[in-house]
Subunit: 207 residues, 2 copies
């Protein structure tokens, strides 16, 4: 039978890391949102840092999976034997910061001059508009991986480009992102200090 | 090969329903949080209603799954061939309502006189305390399935009982839940109108 891994939080998390780094080749055809692993890692590390230093409570949502078949072996945990990746109907990250609801998606591109809108899908854009309508803070973190530049870009801008793509561009020029968005400093702890940017862009209730 | 289900949001959601209702017997040994399906269905329906009527944006997080092995067949979507259910490190539901961050867990019991604390785990209690500390609204929805009564119970009370269980009770008496909590009306649309209770219990920023 080999070793059995009981699915507790700790072990599972480290197993994910192992799996990811052990089989990079199997990831190359994946197109449902697992690209941009290094941006994801930067954000997860930053969120962990924010949690430990009591600055914010922001988590990545689990990957949505459609479970089709589950085995229930005796004396051990249930094993999912057939499942498929689902398209997310919301964004990947959300939580609370200084009493406000925070919601965002993170994507990176290898393009050098613009960010392709195909990195998002209709459901996510609709979700972002809903968050804005209900008084939440909604944005995307966009990374140009070739130059390692990351920007916080408010959803209102993204939504406008999304709506205009039928008659306009299929991507957002980098110059527009740099102008309307906000550069995020890359550091050590946290690796991507996006809360610092949030502080300068959004308003918060007085304490 | 049989029929192939492409994992888009719509189809996947209905497939979950089918799978769940088609194999109730396979669920009986499940102990990682999929109990209380009918409470979950009530809440999902209510959240859907709130979303459509533009009252709030609250979603259930996907079930956390530890993926161990994935097949990448040519010309069709990736198939997860080995995966395990993970313990959630947060709560199941969160979102935004009237500008405030909302976060909760929902559980039901067959017990008639008290609610067992074993329905929760340490990570979730820690998460609830963090949400409170950062100005979010944090509560649990507790259902006594035999009498079909549901209560909104603020996390501060749950956390207190949780901390006292080493020297005290392993469950919360129903009388305490009825006294410190708030009964949630069961209806048709929405089935469980917990926002009505939230309005009467928590304060919101003026518009």
């Amino acid at each position: 039978m080999g070793t059995f891994h009981y699915p507790n939080g700790k072990k599972a998390a480290s197993a994910v890391q192992t799996q990811r780094s052990a089989s990079p080749s199997s990831k190359k055809d994946v197109s449902y949102g697992n690209r941009g692993m290094s941006l994801e890692e930067d954000i997860n590390q930053s969120n962990q840092f924010y949690l430990l230093t009591e600055r914010a409570v922001i988590h990545k949502k689990p990957t949505p999976v459609q479970i089709v078949n589950v085995e229930y072996p005796k004396r051990s945990a249930a094993v999912i034997r057939e499942a498929y990746f689902k398209l997310a109907s919301t964004t990947d990250y959300n939580g609370v910061y200084k009493g406000r609801y925070i919601d965002f998606e993170a994507k990176e591109t290898k393009n050098k001059t613009s960010f392709p809108l195909k990195n998002f899908h209709e459901h996510q854009i609709t979700h972002m508009q809903q968050i804005v309508d209900h008084g939440g803070i909604s944005f995307v973190i966009l990374r140009f991986s070739s130059s390692d530049e990351s920007f916080l870009f408010d959803s209102s801008h993204l939504i406008r480009y999304w709506k205009e793509q039928d008659i306009g561009r299929k991507s957002i020029p980098k110059g527009e992102i740099a102008e309307k968005g906000h550069s995020i400093t890359i550091g050590y702890q946290p690796r991507l200090d996006y809360l610092q940017v949030i502080d300068s862009v959004y308003s918060f209730p007085a304490h």
